[in-house]
């Protein structure tokens, strides 16, 4: 699949993502797609059988997907979370922090710009779904 950027070591998941409605009605799907207005919490009871969650960004300004990803990570989901759609390089650091580990943007991403963007900040104020230690913790050990 071209135009997919992955930050995972495991192999790409082969099965196509089904809609949330289809997933909840099906016992054997392992990849699911969440639209911007859908509630990711519906997946929480089924996380053990999900390998890939694709979260759509219809317009880059629509920030609902950030919450969806973080909710899944907070629930303990360790599989792949992919941001798809109108995903631009300047939002990807926030997305990584919210738990996204792959990206399927509509338009190609400049690799150099992305690399610089992901490395730009050494510190973050708040804990999120990534490994970064929030500044308040660094201050007090």
């Amino acid at each position: 699949m071209d135009n997919v950027l992955r930050f995972r070591d495991d192999a790409e998941h082969e099965e196509p993502a089904v809609s949330l409605e289809a997933f909840l009605g099906q016992s054997n799907a392992t990849a699911v797609r969440i639209e911007a207005g859908e509630d990711a919490r519906h997946l929480i009871p089924h996380l053990d059988r999900v390998a890939l969650v694709e979260i759509d960004f219809p317009r880059f300004r629509d920030g609902r997907g950030y919450s969806s990803a973080r909710i899944l990570r907070e629930a303990g989901y360790k599989g792949e979370i992919r941001a798809s759609g109108d995903v631009l390089v300047d939002q990807m650091l926030f997305m990584r922090r919210c738990g996204f580990d792959s990206f399927a943007p509509d338009a190609p991403i400049d690799a150099e710009v992305l690399d610089a963007a992901l490395k730009r900040y050494d510190f973050f104020y708040q804990s999120a779904a990534d490994e970064a230690v929030p500044v308040w913790k660094l201050r007090h050990g």
Binding site: S67, F94, Y121, D122, F124, S127, L138
Partner: protein
């Protein structure tokens, strides 16, 4: 006041470099304006009627002389020698060049300032009480909590692409000097029966097209859970906010549509899910921040006596100088509303002067207020006369705090491409009409607020007298509203009737004040009389 450590400085410096790179990509055409717009708005940069406009953050309205001087430097070097203090305790510059904006942010970063999240669909500047740390009626200084919230909401990865802007205000006194109930989230510090510190949490206030006074969502939130609770509020809103209609996206609309009880239920449920994540900032970090807000080393044994023999000084004392919690000290309000002047505007020279005065007379601290004035919070009474003389020479001693000429006005159609009508000339005409000192004092507390369009940046819904500029078939027209308040007795002003042209609105305001003088009983302000007698006597007088 708070001082950056290496982490804070690193974050701001990285932000400057990030914006510099994004600007370069924009200028090279690698980013369209549609893609660049949210990025520049996250750094306070608007494309406005005359040029780019930059809004610099003044967190909870607090700054020192070094920072104030930098604001003057920016006005001189990058703008046209002046700035404008806003209704959210920020400062704006109207003549900015995009190609210089990264340098401006770099200059600001050298004095621990920035323009982060001052516009766009972001969590905006955290505002607070301009008398914090100086007033006797606060239970504690709200600003360390404001700083905690500022850090926790800066570059929050989940909440950087919100449905709309999000405004938070904090107070710690019964008298609400920060209009918290007209914010998306208003926080009032309180103590419970056990003496523990917590917050009354109000959610869903705001002005604009559909104003609301925020209902109380939680009567007591333990102070240490402030951040996780805010995350719950934001997450519920992020999920449900209507994204189909830009006019329906603020959290006030959601709270109103699903109701206070259901909204509260959802927030509480979300909060229970968030709590185990450990995102709350621990008390030890709060204590670290709070240590930057100690009481200044006040002198003791000072006299409270003042020589009032100069009648102009006495007038200014009575109007602009507020009681300080310490004997021998006073809170000084610097009016940026000279009669006939532009409300909230300040020249670079005046900025430097105020910086010097703050350094010399106020333990190097000053405040910006949401009424577009400035405050020197800790001034010795024995320094007041000399201070007043210096202010007067600089045109900063108008003795009109909260009087009819202390008008809040947005920049309006003179500066803003969103506006329907000019607001500044209306403010100037009203101030000139009521310039007489005796007349102003006779009218007493009378808060006039003027907005040039429905976005209500002039807070007209919260004016004792509010004025809204509209476009009526291509000409400027003004609606008159009465009875609003942004204080703890929050209320929304009501429209009187058909609108007026520029001269007509000034006459209408004058007629409204005449009704007040006629109807009032002892001790009543304009607002009180209006609330007692209602709209009818005013309508009659204005429309005949």
């Amino acid at each position: 006041m708070y001082k950056y450590d290496k982490y804070d400085q690193s974050i701001v410096d990285a932000r400057v470099e990030e914006f510099r790179e994004q600007t370069a990509r924009r200028l090279a055409g690698a980013l369209t304006d549609d893609q660049f717009k949210p990025l520049r708005l996250k750094n306070g940069l608007y494309l406005q009627l005359h040029a780019y406009m930059l809004r610099v953050a003044i967190p909870y309205g607090t700054l020192d002389s070094r920072q104030m001087r930098m604001l003057g430097h920016i006005a001189r070097k990058y703008d046209r020698g002046y700035g404008h203090f806003t209704t959210r305790q920020n400062i704006q510059y109207n003549w900015i060049k995009l190609e210089e904006a990264p340098d401006i942010l770099a200059d600001l970063a050298t004095v621990e300032m920035h323009a982060i999240q001052t516009s766009g669909e972001s969590i905006r500047n955290i505002s607070s009480d301009q008398y914090a740390g100086a007033a006797a009626d606060e239970i504690c200084d709200p600003r360390p909590w404001a700083e905690l919230v500022r850090q926790a909401t800066t570059f929050h990865p989940e909440f950087s692409y919100l449905p709309r802007k999000f405004k938070i205000a904090l107070t710690a006194a019964e008298e609400d000097r920060a209009a918290i109930r007209l914010h998306d989230v208003g926080l009032k510090l309180v103590k419970n029966e056990a003496g523990e510190l917590g917050f009354e949490v109000y959610v869903g206030g705001g002005m604009g097209r559909t104003p609301f006074v925020a209902p109380l969502i939680r009567p007591f939130l333990p102070a240490d859970n402030l951040f996780s609770y805010l995350e719950a509020v934001l997450r519920v809103w992020n999920r449900w906010a209507r994204r189909d209609n830009i006019h329906k996206q603020r959290i006030k609309i959601l709270v109103h549509e699903i109701g206070q009880a259901e909204f509260t239920r959802q927030v509480e449920e979300e909060w229970q899910a968030i709590l185990p994540n450990g995102s709350d900032v621990p008390r030890v970090e709060f204590d670290r921040i709070a240590a930057y807000f100690p009481e200044p080393p006040f002198a003791t044994g000072l006299s409270d006596e003042l020589d009032r023999s100069d009648p102009d000084f006495a007038l200014w004392l009575d109007q602009n100088v507020a009681a300080h919690k310490r004997p021998g000290y006073a809170i000084v309000n610097i009016s940026l509303k000279p009669t006939g002047g532009i409300p909230g505007d300040i020249s670079a020279d005046q900025i430097d002067l105020v910086a010097d005065l703050a350094e010399r007379h106020s333990f190097d601290e000053l405040r910006a207020t949401h009424a577009q004035n400035l405050v020197l919070p800790h001034v010795r009474k024995d320094a007041l006369y000399g201070l007043w003389q210096t202010l007067r020479e600089a045109g900063l001693a108008e003795a009109n705090l909260d009087l009819v000429t202390d008008i809040i006005a947005c920049p309006g159609l003179d500066y803003c491409s969103l506006a329907n009508a000019r607001s500044i000339p209306v403010a100037q005409k009203i101030a000139t009409r009521f310039a007489d000192q005796g007349r102003q004092r006779e009218l007493g507390e009378l808060k006039i607020k003027i907005s040039g369009c429905i976005n209500a940046c002039g807070h007209h819904h919260a004016g004792h007298i509010g004025i809204l500029g509209v476009d009526r078939k291509g000409t400027e027209n003004y609606q008159l509203l009465l009875g609003g308040s942004g204080a703890e007795d929050a209320s929304l002003a009501k429209i009187t009737g058909p609108g007026f042209d520029e001269d007509g609105i000034v006459d209408a305001v004058e007629k409204a004040t005449a009704v007040y003088l006629r109807e009032r009983v002892e001790g009543e302000r304009f607002l009180d009389t209006y609330r007692r007698v209602g709209m009818d006597p005013f309508k009659e007088a204005i429309y005949g």
